[in-house]
Symmetry: C2
Subunit: 541 residues, 2 copies
């Protein structure tokens, strides 16, 4: 040991910058700690991994700040590139890969309504509220464009935390609505935010709404199509060349790389990478996953979940540490009272903005639903409202993007906007995150039997399908099996649109897609399926 | 679609820099192409994934250069951080994780001899050769320190390519020697390179060699110990808290994170991260891997292999693309003839430097080995010499580190050194990489029966062990089972050191390690073991 000290030899890390290694060490040690603590708190219903990570990140941030004696430390800086390029894609891909597809597509109309119209309503209300209230608080330097940006920033819900708080198994209906809304919300937020960035506010006319809607539809359909095309390509390549013959690793590598490539291509083509990679995950779990060897199936299922889990935990540690970035707090000259007032205003606007679309839209859906079992109860509406209140890393990233390099308003007001956004994110994640699980238990699961929609929607669907097959069996028995099913399908499409679409899709899948792209189709049970054994098994032919 | 064009809306990639996305897209598309082509060429014995990746990288580099019209492109730049922080650790960890442990430790003395003494011999010869020859070629600006650096740079063998070219199943002995040497070589190279960087050449005395040796030993033992400690900690935590109870993903995540953390800690403490993460992999596969659930075992086995595979392919694509970084070629004003002469000199020095230690050291080992079956035949020596000729990304990284920012010699000579290093790397990888497999088939496998050492070492070891247990059984039958085994162990230690160490280690493992850290011990067969079914099974108790 002594010899090491006396020889004037440089250290091996001369290849690497020490600050990078220190930062990585701290982050990875924190991640390990989060996993161990998360495991120990598993039985605790108030805590979860997100909150543990956030609190650990806050502690670490405070310690780093003390060590650095209040100096700026690059360790704490939030990087948009890191977040959007490396952390978000695995999370969203895994969500698509493990989502219960039938539940998701069954509620597709509701999801679209919430994700598009809901986000727009929330955006308008928050912008308007900020515009009316901030003048009174004393913030006068904000422009109209800034107010609209605030609306877009605070309308971006956090899909990551939703995934951790809601359980796909316990409350599949709520999960699919709130999470699905979060994914669609991303595309809407991007369109709104970018529109706000570039619209000419001196020249607003009525056609602008139509143009925005057109732009959204373009973004939605092209992003989805890209994800579907890339994943079908992966299914086709793996099926045709039969990679499993030589190596399991190549199959796994190809699935990972092509999933990530779909995200990168979407970003390159200026589409919504989140939508693309989400649909890529859905289609991959339907086709590609069934074309690979058994080992690859187990590996991909768990490896994708693990990567997503690490990325989620990383984001929360990161957001926690970022909160102590001293430069931001120095930049804003506002008093603590002003910061708290503005943060409270922000959060109140988020609460109202979400209430303003969840309850009306849910009741609107209830009105057009004929069947009682498909209606959304008030209790469920309440949980939908509450579970979507969390704001996360997307909000922080957008806030940095808007306010960190702006020259239009005073730098102190910019810093104030960023710090208040961080306060809202921390508050909503910690409070809403910890209260949601107990709230769901108290409101929904305690009187499970009365909760019709969440408990019985799968049996009711099964019943519908049995009806459908009974009718088809009838018509094919009469010999005219070419025309009669189509006629009955059309009739069914009007009576039960979702179920009929599902039935037609399955026929199409069996006839045209599966021969080319593989996949298991709709067989009753595949052990270790990424979406769980109960997915689609109830609809087994 | 038209609406998208007419609205003045910014695109979604405003959060991300376009150049990063383009670079990532190109790399990931190339990786996918490599996997598909590698699969199609699997039966071809001349080609392998490394060469495919290198050639694809070269093609892509040429195309990028054409598109950029000879301008500098950041797409092509080689980053030491990316290589040492993100690409190298998964490869070396996986090598440790999947290495056949018994074979590796059986040849440990040979590996150490080759890795330490061999690298030093090669370093001295290459430095001396460069010093004597380069003056004649016309390179006069190089200092003594530069010549020694060249020696260290060209002595760094490429473990990554070795892994791809040698097969652990076909030639386990060669694999363990050449790959093990590559891992130890890394620690030696770091010590040599850093010593060269910082030694004061005006004040060299005899004690410097001793000091360097002391420094190496310090580096070797602390790095190994760190890897062992971190992996034992992971085994202990996973065994004690029983993570599998709640979640497979946490187990997998914890294994990944702690493996990477061991590398980061080693770099932070100025140790050899490669040695640390390699031993971390070995110990993790012995203890931690057996403490997790069945799904986690399959997942980690394939996920680690896949990540390593992706990283390897990435490195070769990267090195290929980097070769066309036009700035370097512009910087060196030398004619094509000079470049070729220097590159040829480099490669000749590598050939001689390796020959100068492989053959003498192998014969030295043969002399001290009493048993004929343990001797290294000339054919094997030849393959050992040939298979270790490849130079890879480590050489390029060290070369950049040495010559890219130096102010001591003219910039044209620096650029010349870098470009010649790249030529040597490309040439050695393509030529040695493609010829090694057919060469092994022609030299070793054709007359498999005469190749005693590689074919029969496991049965002979088994015989030794049977002898050993027979003796122990005898002594315990006499009632003095406390003293007699120890006495016979001591006698055996002198007669058969490797086998006795192995036996003692197993007793220690069963008695003290396994109760604390778990692991399977030495049971005959574990399905899907990362080191293959035949590892340690022959020595089953």
């Amino acid at each position: 040991m002594a010899s090491h000290e006396t020889i004037p030899i440089q250290n091996s890390s001369s290849f690497l910058s020490t600050s990078t290694i220190v930062a990585l060490c701290v982050f990875f040690a924190l991640l390990c700690a989060c996993i161990v603590i998360g495991h120990l708190l598993e039985e605790n219903r108030w805590a979860n991994e997100s909150i543990t990570a956030l609190l650990l990140g806050l502690c670490a941030g405070a310690i780093v700040l003390l060590i650095e004696k209040g100096q700026d430390s690059r360790l704490l800086a939030f990087s948009e590139d890191l977040f959007f390029l490396y952390l978000l894609p695995p999370i969203i891909f895994n969500a698509g890969f493990q989502v219960k597809k039938k539940q998701f597509f069954k509620n597709f109309t509701t999801i679209l309504l919430f994700g598009i119209l809901g986000t727009v309503i929330s955006f308008c209300l928050i912008s308007l509220g900020a515009f009316l209230l901030f003048k009174r608080i004393g913030l006068t330097t904000l422009t109209l464009q800034q107010f609209l940006a605030i609306g877009a920033i605070l309308s971006a819900t956090d899909s990551v935390c939703t995934l951790q708080v809601l359980s796909q198994d316990e409350t599949p209906f709520l999960y699919s609505i709130v999470f699905g809304e979060g994914v669609v919300n991303d595309a809407t937020s991007i369109v709104l935010y970018n529109a706000v960035q570039s619209l000419n506010f001196n020249n607003i006319d009525a056609t602008i709404t139509l143009k925005l809607l057109g732009n959204f539809l373009y973004l939605f359909f092209t992003s989805t199509a890209l994800g579907v095309v890339v994943s079908l390509l992966s299914a086709f390549v793996i099926k045709t060349l039969y990679f499993g013959r030589h190596s399991t690793d190549r199959e796994v590598a190809l699935m990972m790389l092509m999933a990530y490539l779909s995200y990168l291509l979407a970003e390159l083509l200026n589409l919504s990478g989140i939508l693309t990679v989400f649909f890529c995950g859905i289609v991959m779990s339907h086709y590609t996953w069934h074309n690979v060897t058994e080992s690859s199936r187990i590996t991909t299922k768990h490896a994708f979940a693990t990567m997503s889990f690490i990325a989620e935990t990383f984001i929360f540690v990161y957001v926690g540490m970022d909160a102590f970035d001293i430069e931001k707090w120095k930049g804003s000259n506002a008093s603590a009272a002003t910061s708290v007032t503005i943060s409270a205003t922000f959060f109140a606007l988020v609460l109202i903005g979400r209430a303003a679309f969840v309850f009306p839209l849910a009741n609107f859906i209830n009105c057009i639903q004929k069947r009682d079992s498909n209606k959304i109860e008030f209790k469920q509406q309440f949980i939908m409202w509450w579970a979507g209140l969390m704001r996360g890393a997307v909000t922080i990233a957008l806030s940095y993007n808007q306010f960190s390099n702006t020259k239009k308003i005073s730098s102190s007001d910019s810093a104030l906007m960023i710090t208040c956004t961080i306060i809202v994110v921390l508050f909503s994640t910690i409070v809403c995150g910890s209260v949601t699980k107990p709230l769901i238990e108290a409101v929904l699961l305690r009187n499970r039997k009365t909760n019709v929609s969440d408990a019985t929607d799968i049996p009711s669907l099964e019943e519908d399908l049995r009806q459908l097959f009974f009718e088809n069996g009838d018509s094919s028995g009469q010999g005219n099996n070419q025309i009669a099913p189509r006629a009955s399908s059309l009739r069914l499409l009007i009576a039960h649109p979702t179920i009929t679409v599902h039935y037609l899709w399955r026929k199409f899948d069996d006839k045209f897609m599966r021969p080319v792209f593989g996949g298991r189709g709709f067989v009753p049970f595949v052990p270790g399926s990424p979406t769980g054994a109960d997915d689609e098994t109830s609809a087994a032919v």
